[in-house]
């Protein structure tokens, strides 16, 4: 008995050791490395966004890939941990990835130094350090979508419009996760408060923010804010919708940054009926009325399956599409420029910079990448909960772009 036990354990150990040495089969595909969080604190997003990414790649492959070259995605769940992400990045590199999708602000910061050294472009859509949009300083890092600075600009623009075009002297509350990502927009907000002369008060929520009654009570009952900007993620958004609702605060005066803008957040808060009027900032289109989504559904139908379940969560699904579409666009441009599928990270980096006015049938804002601007223009759009849907409450906007660009330039 005792010996059997020992033997079993030893065998288990040996097995885990041998797998370390065994390499997985390699094919001559164009490889993308994707770090995901399906089990960590941001899993609510990951479980929708990552499948969407795979779906889009599958769609492109079904149409023959990129000029005949198939695309292969190596996905690794990092659980929002830094060491796991470092290991994942090394694995991507080993598999020959020409572009890597990063996930999470701290992980992005830990991997960024490697990107430049290894000359592999990495993307951080909607997260990471906002200053990283500065392509001069970080040539291989592409935030690819509105950074937290740009989101702040867009948010204030929207608030101003909602409050009748003038926010001088108005009270605006900023409720945020008390971590670096949460604090990121503060410099922009403070600058805009000076420019527009509104009163800004900050309310920090310690992550993961399962309980924030007091702060919401403070905003609604003591501070009595005219408008609330919120920047939470994970569980936070659903909780804050509920709390604002319970305090009797009109959700029309609440605008969430991009990570509190999904159907999952509305569901968590108790469903559409309870979230009427809630405003959500987005950097990709929301809803299912886009040609690319129909094509994916058709692809599933051909295989005899119903469309992907995740598609019901349009916000995060469409963001997955955005990430995949931009990646593949950059790779396609690289392949075209090179004339063959034998491309490197540097080629793809140039591919990114060659992307101009890429909209993919309206699901994306008109993306333009330049040397200084790696966020594609910093576009965002507000969608509002009305009935059982998110409906657009604004057009694609870029608020205070000059301020943001100025800050980008100052940073280096």
């Amino acid at each position: 008995m005792k010996h059997l036990r020992t033997g079993l354990l030893a065998a288990g150990l040996a097995m885990s050791a041998t797998t370390m040495v065994a390499t997985t089969a390699t094919a001559k595909d164009l490889v993308i490395g994707m770090a995901c969080d399906r089990t960590g604190p941001t899993q609510t997003v990951g479980v929708v966004l990552c499948p969407a990414y795979h779906d889009y790649v599958k769609l492109v492959n079904s149409k023959g890939g990129l000029m005949g070259n198939k695309v292969k995605v190596v996905e690794i769940d990092t659980q929002y941990k830094v060491p796991a992400s470092v290991e994942a990045y090394q694995r991507f590199k080993k598999e020959g990835a020409v572009v890597v999708a990063l996930w999470g602000t701290p992980m992005t910061q830990a991997i960024t130094p490697n990107l430049n050294a290894d000359k592999i472009p990495g993307t951080s859509p909607g997260f990471g350090t906002a200053a990283a949009a500065n392509g001069v300083k970080y040539p291989y890092l592409f935030p690819m979508a509105a950074s937290y600075w740009s989101q702040a600009g867009a948010a204030v623009t929207f608030a101003k419009a909602e409050l009748g075009g003038n926010i001088k002297g108005k009270k605006i509350a900023y409720i945020f996760y008390d971590n670096p990502a949460g604090r990121e927009p503060i410099p922009v907000l403070e600058k805009l408060a000076k420019i527009e002369d509104f009163e800004l008060k900050k309310f920090a929520i310690p992550p993961p923010g399962v309980e924030m009654k007091v702060q919401v009570q403070d905003i609604t009952r003591r501070y009595r804010a005219d408008f609330v900007l919120s920047h939470l993620f994970g569980k936070g958004p659903a909780v804050h919708i509920k709390e604002f609702k319970r305090m009797g605060y009109p959700l029309k005066k609440l605008l969430s940054f991009v990570w509190g803008a999904g159907e999952a957040d509305i569901n968590g808060a108790g469903g559409w009926a309870k979230a009427q009027g809630y405003n959500a900032l987005n950097f990709a289109g929301v809803g299912s009325n886009y040609a690319v989504l129909d094509e994916i559904k058709a692809l599933y139908k051909k295989e005899g399956k119903t469309g992907p379940e995740e598609m019901a969560s349009t916000v995060y699904y469409n963001r997955g599409i955005l990430a995949a579409a931009v990646h593949l666009k950059a790779m396609e441009l690289a392949v075209k420029a090179k004339g063959s599928g034998d491309i490197t990270g540097t080629d793809v980096q140039k591919g990114f910079l060659a992307i101009k006015d890429f909209k993919l049938g309206g699901i994306l804002p008109p993306l333009d990448f330049t040397d200084i601007d790696h966020e594609g223009g910093g576009w965002a759009r507000v969608f509002r909960v009305e009935g059982d849907n998110f409906v657009p409450a604004s057009d694609w906007i870029r608020g205070y772009r000059d301020v943001v660009i100025q800050m980008l330039k100052e940073d280096h």
Binding site: P206, V210, E211, K213, Q215, R246
Partner: protein, 296 residues
């Protein structure tokens, strides 16, 4: 206005504190009777809520039936857990038991979404969202309901523990497994009872908290609220849980309302821990905890 806000904060802090107590009491229960330290209490609450919400939302069960399924699940699950995982761990060092329950927490984190799907779900137990305003009092209904459930349960449980013969036997088991066995007490049955009771409390906690904040794996973070509560009150005291819960609830509310503005925020989650350390320095076994009688 300021005094009214202070009053509101305090009242809501007290209500929230009672709801914390509901989570913490499961921890105390297990610690008292089996000496095991359950770092997975937050996960228990989470998994109970996930089962109920999953049955209700994904499989369309009426809420009462879903709660029934949840109750059954928690009883069976905790019973099995005690048998398979915790019983072999009896007599091991504290740190090993902590680690085992952390392992358990990981398993639950992985299993919850696998069975019922990831993402946040609502859990509607029929409590309205509109605020309750009674004179100067401003409360949210779910807090009132939650605190009410908590008080009723704790009162019943406290009576059982202190006064009934079974309660005395349970405390005897907590005191010494070996002597209890020698006295004809079926120790294993009381272990199972403790875990099952903890499962039932977790379900109550899951219902209240799930209804308050929505259901997903992040709910498990509530488990971190348990520690200051139980340590402050004393690990093995039911009254301690209530007092600890109330103190922590109010302390959090006041920290967020009055300390945050001066230090740039985020003090709410860690002030309870600071308070806890201060109390520990003067009362190393919490306010109501029993000191270990040291002899040489």
């Amino acid at each position: 206005m300021e005094w009214q806000f202070l009053f509101e904060l305090t009242v809501n802090g007290l209500l929230t504190g009672m709801m914390y107590a509901l989570i913490a009491v499961g921890f105390v229960l297990i610690y008292k009777s089996t000496d095991a330290i359950n770092f997975a209490q937050g996960e228990f609450v989470m998994i109970a809520a996930i089962v109920v919400a999953g049955m209700a939302v994904k499989y369309g069960f009426p809420i009462v039936a879903a709660i029934g399924v949840g109750l059954l699940f928690m009883i069976v699950f905790n019973f099995a857990l005690e048998r398979v995982v915790l019983r072999p761990m009896i007599g091991r060092p504290v740190v090993s038991i902590i680690m085992a329950t952390i392992g358990l927490a990981l398993v639950l984190q992985g299993a919850g979404p696998l069975v019922f799907g990831a993402g946040t779900r609502p859990l509607d137990i029929g409590v309205p969202d509109e605020p309750l305003i009674i004179g100067p009092l401003f409360m949210t209904p779910i807090d009132v309901v939650g605190a009410g459930i908590s008080i009723v349960f704790l009162a019943v449980f406290g009576w059982f523990f202190m006064k009934s013969r079974k309660g005395v036997a349970m405390r005897a088991v907590a005191d010494s497994h070996m002597i209890s066995m020698a006295m004809g007490i079926n120790v294993e049955r009381y272990f199972a009872l403790a875990w099952i009771l903890a499962g039932v409390v977790a379900l109550l906690g899951g219902l209240v908290w799930g209804s308050a904040i929505g259901v997903d794996t992040q709910m498990a973070a509530l488990g971190l609220k348990v520690f200051p509560v139980v340590i402050l009150g004393g690990l093995d005291s039911i009254i301690g849980v209530v007092v600890g819960g109330l103190i922590i609830g109010v302390c959090e509310a006041l920290a967020a309302g009055y300390v945050d503005p001066f230090v740039g925020g985020g003090t709410k989650d860690f002030t309870p821990y600071v308070l806890m350390i201060l109390v520990l320095m003067f009362r190393p076994y919490g306010i109501f905890g029993k000191p270990i009688i040291e002899r040489i």
